[in-house]
Amino acid sequence: MTQRDGTRGGPVSGRTFRDLSIKVSALARVEGEGGLQVVVRDGQVTDARLDIYEPPRFFEALLRGRRLTEVPDITSRICGICPIAYQMSACQAIEDACGAVIPTPILDLRRLIYCGEWIESHALHIYLLHAPDFLGYESGLDMAQHRPDLLQRGLRLKKAGNRLMEVIGGRAVHPVNVRVGGFYRAPDRRDLDGLRAGLDQARQDALHTVRWVAGFAFPDFSQDYQFVSLRHPADYPITVGRVVSSRGLDIEVREYDQHFTEVQVPHSTALHSLLHGSGTYLAGPMARYSLNAGLLPTTVRDAAHAAGLGESCTNPFRSIIVRAIETLYACEEAIRLIDAYEPPEPAWVEVPPRAGTGYGATEAPRGLLFHRYQINADGTVAAATIIPPTSQNQRVIESDLRAFVEDRLELPHDRLTWQCEQAVRNYDPCISCSTHFLNLTVERS
C-alpha cells in the first residue's frame, strides 16, 4: 500500500472523480466532545480533520501556585477513565523535580493499581465502544440487547480492574489513596488476596476476549507508522521506562522537550504533538506492543500469535486485538504482583520540596502520558505541562482518515461515514483528557 504523508492524495487514472464531504458533527462512542470532517475534491482528499471543540479546561494554569502534594488529586480529575495514569505521571514528575527516590515495593504497588486501570479502560473500550463496530451493532447497549452474554463477560472483566483500583486506591473513579511519595495507606495482604479469585476469572475472560476479537473481519489498512512508547529493559512498559520510537529515538523522559513539540491548530482545542524531524507519530497499545512484544510473558505472547498478531501491529483496526492482549497481560501481571506482595513499609516516603523541574511519563491505556512540573523552593507549582496521548495521536488519526477515505471513495456515503468514525474509534480517543467530544463530516462537494 502506498504510504501517504498526510498532505496530499492522488487521483487514480481512469476513475470517475467524485467530490465528497463527510461530516460527523458529534462522534459517538468516544470519551468527550468532538467531530470529524473529510473533504474530497476532484478525487483527492483536500482536508481530513479531527475537530476537538470541547472547551479547554485550563488544568495546567489551574495547577500554578498549588502545593505539589495537591497535584495528583487535581490531575486525576482530568479523566474518569484513566485517573491513575494522571496520578502516576504527576507523582513521578514531582518526585523527579525534588530528587526523591521511591522504594521498589511502592513502585510495585503503583504498577499493580495501574494494571487495574488498564483492565477497566481496555474492557470498556473493547466491549462497549469498539466491538459494536465490527459486529454491526449501533452501540454497546444494542449489543447488550442481542448478546447479553458478551456484555456480561466484558463487565465482569471491567469490574476486576475497578476492584483493584478500589482496594488500592480507595475508590475506582478518582482514587484518593495515591500521594506524592507513595500511598497514604498500603493495603493489607488479605485485601489483595481477596482479589485473587476475581483476577483468575478475569484472566480467563481476557483470554476468551482475545479469541473472540481475533475472529472479527478487519479492513485491509496497514500504515507505515512511527511508533512511540516507553521501553523498560525487563518489563512490558506501564509505569516506567525510556521514551523510544520505531525509528531509533531512545531518550530519557527528561529529554522529552528536546525532541517533541506541541503546536496549536485552529480546529482543535487540544494541542497537536510532533516529533522533531519526523512529525506525526503514534502512541498507545499498537505502539507499546510493536516496540515491546518481546517483553510479554510466553503465555501472553502465545495468545497473541494464536490471535494472528506478529511482532508488530500496523493495522489500527486490529488494535482491538492488541487491547485484548494487553488486558490479558495486565491480569497476569496483577496476579504476579499480588502473589509477591508485601505491604510497603512505610507506605510513602517524604518528598521534601526543592526548586527544580521534573519529568514524568507513564503508559496510560491510550498511550504515553507526559507531565512536566517546575517546582518552587516552597513546594508550590511554578509551571505545569501535561501532554496526554490523544493530543499526540490527533495527527495520526487525521492522516489515517485521509488514507482510508482515498482508497474507499466508491463506498456509499453512510457506509464511508460509519467506517471513518470507526477509524477514529480505533484510537480510543479520550477527548476529555486532551481537552475534551468528537463529530464526523465527510463533505463531498
Binding site: 470519551e31 462497549l128 463487565l155 475506582a172
Partner: protein
Amino acid sequence: MTAPEPAARRVLVIGIGNTYRGDDAVGLAVAEWIRAAAPPDVTVVRHEGEPISLLEEWDEARDVYLVDAVSSDGEPGNVYRFDTATEPLAARLRPRGTHALGVADTIELARALGRLPRRLVSYGIEGRCFAHGASLSPPVREAVAVVSERLLAELTPGRPPAVAG
C-alpha cells in the same frame, strides 16, 4: 436469582452528579439531605454517573432510588419521577451526559442484562446551569428540599408526604 439478599444495602439511594458543574450537583445535594434523615436501613451513595460502576452499585440492592439532574425543555427546578424498573426513561428527559453512556442508557443496559433491581425509581430535577465551577441555581436549590422530602416519604412508611412540590 435465588441467592440470599445481603442485609446491608437492600435499599439504596444514589445521588448522581458532579460537584463542579453547577446544577449537575443536585443529585449529590439530595443524597446529603437523605443521608442526614433516612432510616438506618437505607444506604446512601454519591456517584459521578460512570455507567458500569453505577450498575455494580445496585447489583446487590433490592430497591434503588436514583437522583440526577436532567436537561430538557422544562422549567428549572421541575421534578420528575419515573418508575424505571417497568418502563424506559423518556428520551427527552434523559439525564445530561456526553460520555459513552448516560444514566438512562445504563438503566437500559441493566434491563438487557437482567440486572435491574426489583424496584428502580428515578428522580430527575430540571437544571438550568451546568457551567464549570457554578453552584446550584436558586430554583434547583429549592427543589433539593422538595425531592428529598418526597423521597424520604417513600423510604419511610408512615412518614407524611411533603406538602411542597
